[in-house]
Symmetry: C2
Subunit: 354 residues, 2 copies
């Protein structure tokens, strides 16, 4: 009997916690009174099993529940549904961790080693930036992409707000950006794919036709099963996961972004770095990065980062990371390529501790 072990952090009193833990185990499996179930197979093999309860202090308990892997199968949407679906609607509980047995989900296809091989970035962190702002026409977006590439950056990704808007349709802007990046340097251009699975599939096909081998997806908007379907369908494509709509207060970010996105097939995962404009702590960021690396995906700290913080971030994350700096490079405007070159050089010249 294969079980996925889910750890929940639950606010409760010592007198309540056992009943509350059993209630979560039922909610996330059969969702009905056990008295109404006669079948031994279901009671033993399907109903969630409370494996341990640990008092973490401060009225918080860590509850480990074994969820039957057979309720999930190979459906990544079911993984989220069975791990936290209805329980996400309850206020007293956070999904803190999931231990998914190896082999149930494929994980990154290209991963850290593949991205190093493709970019030639060896012995140092990867560098990345983002094409912004949305609202520009395709030619102007391509000019910005060219500036980053001329500065020697590894990855030039779309802002996650860029989609298929009328002022810059995907089919018009992606070939231009791909071409601009190719002429200006060795960078990989990473378009953001959006919309339904059909739309994303067509966009990835177009990206491939433009000679691209990386795209960005937002798993919490695309739907987990669709991300997995795309990763299965385009094994040569590297997938960069964006955390938008992660609403990570209710699913621990080190789990959601650090583990679950790689399990869907993300080769690199963007997350809000500590000390930026999002509230993650250094501990959360370190755990998230370690989880992602453990699954072979590149951690990508981002969110209001500046050139001045590059050495500190490289000391913190080491070489198996990708630094993503957007706005503070774009602030250089006509000197975009120089600012980008300072960024690329700082990462190349750093003495890595690990």
């Amino acid at each position: 009997m294969t079980r996925i072990i889910a750890t929940y952090l639950v606010h409760a009193t010592p007198a309540e916690i056992e009943a509350r833990a059993r209630a979560i185990a039922i909610e996330q499996s059969v969702e009905m009174p056990l008295e109404a179930i006669a079948d031994d197979f279901i009671l033993r093999g399907i109903v969630g099993e409370v494996q341990s309860i640990a008092d973490r202090g401060g009225g918080v308990f860590a509850v480990r529940i074994g969820l039957a892997a057979s309720t999930i199968g190979a459906d990544a949407g079911q993984l989220f549904n069975m791990a936290f679906g209805n329980t996400s609607l309850q206020e007293d509980v956070v999904l803190a961790d999931l231990n998914v047995p190896p082999g149930l989900f494929p994980g990154p296809r290209v991963g850290i080693a593949g991205l190093r091989a493709r970019t030639g970035a060896v012995g140092r962190a990867f560098t990345a930036s983002a094409i912004k702002p949305q609202g520009l026409p395709p030619e102007r977006l391509a000019a910005i992409a060219a500036g980053f590439a001329a500065g020697g950056i590894d990855f030039v990704k779309d802002d996650h707000g860029l989609a298929d808007q009328h002022y810059a349709p995907f089919a018009a802007r992606v070939p231009l950006c791909a071409d601009a990046v190719r002429r200006a340097g060795h960078a990989r251009y990473v378009p953001s794919v959006t919309g339904s699975l059909d739309a994303m599939r067509a966009q990835i096909g177009l990206a491939r036709d433009c000679g691209l081998d990386c795209v960005m997806v937002a798993p919490m908007i695309a739907g987990p099963a669709n991300v997995r379907a795309l990763a299965d369908e385009f094994p040569g494509m590297a997938f960069l996961a964006h955390p938008t709509l992660g609403g990570a207060a209710r699913i621990a970010p080190e789990l959601l972004i650090g583990k679950l996105f790689p399990l869907l097939g993300a080769d690199a995962v963007i997350f809000p770095n500590y000390g930026g404009r999002f509230g993650y702590s250094p501990g959360t960021c370190a755990d998230l990065a370690a989880n992602a690396r453990g699954l072979g995906a590149v951690p990508v700290p981002a969110g209001g980062m500046t050139l001045a913080r590059v050495p500190e971030m490289l000391d913190f994350y080491g070489a198996d990371a990708m630094l993503l700096i957007g706005g503070s490079l774009l602030a250089a405007r006509e000197r975009l390529a120089e600012a980008t070159a300072r960024f690329a050089n700082a990462v190349a010249a750093h003495r890595y501790r690990k």
Copy 2:
């Protein structure tokens, strides 16, 4: 210039709130320093616009921001991305409301009136229950479905845990349940469709081949753009939205379930009723139901409801509602049809105040 008005509830001090509101407006539009933007079109037409800030007391401010509809287009995923994508990762803010101009999203195709016409349920609330537990083989699931139908219920839906598991594959269980329900009464069987858009599309096709005209989807797992794509593709199919993974602490449930799910095309929306095992207040439930009805979708209170609460719920929600009672009917076991008949009769016999 069409704008979608987003209302955020922000924890801040009076000294901070103006800057914080501007920061959200930028985060949810161009996500870069405004000093680096030269284009008037972008500054005036794309950047989010703080329209008002109201002190709600207790350190909470209601901030209304106009988001350019052109950044969203017809992509339902972009609606979520631009309304709350990155901001969902910040701890101090909740998305409280969205005013989407009529016509941008199609909304329910079948809706309240269509469901009344199909079921013949006139002048009273709809009734519904759920087939559980997962783990049963198709024949046993069909027998439960038949029990509900024999009791005279309107809708027999799948438990949202039922997917395409090996012990009860969709293609095996859905024809059996459809047939069992058809023989036993006038009920509509509502299978749950899961997985990628491809998988959901194939499942809906199979449901249609079985003569079914209602299915259930989980928008936060399926991905909003895929739900909209399915609603566009199957206009004769009624869609029941399940709130699983709604994690509604960060998006107000009256918005997420009451407005956004209907905008994607849901004809009926399931939500946790007050006084059940989820933490929604009566006020939240009333607002959620009013929002859904305002868009033509049926509100479906659920979650640990009992027969004893039927009169109270009908007084609270009125006739334009669907009552969904699952576990407490299933607890009747071999007397499932009688328990269901008591439920159906209580709803039919109620004197509606509104």
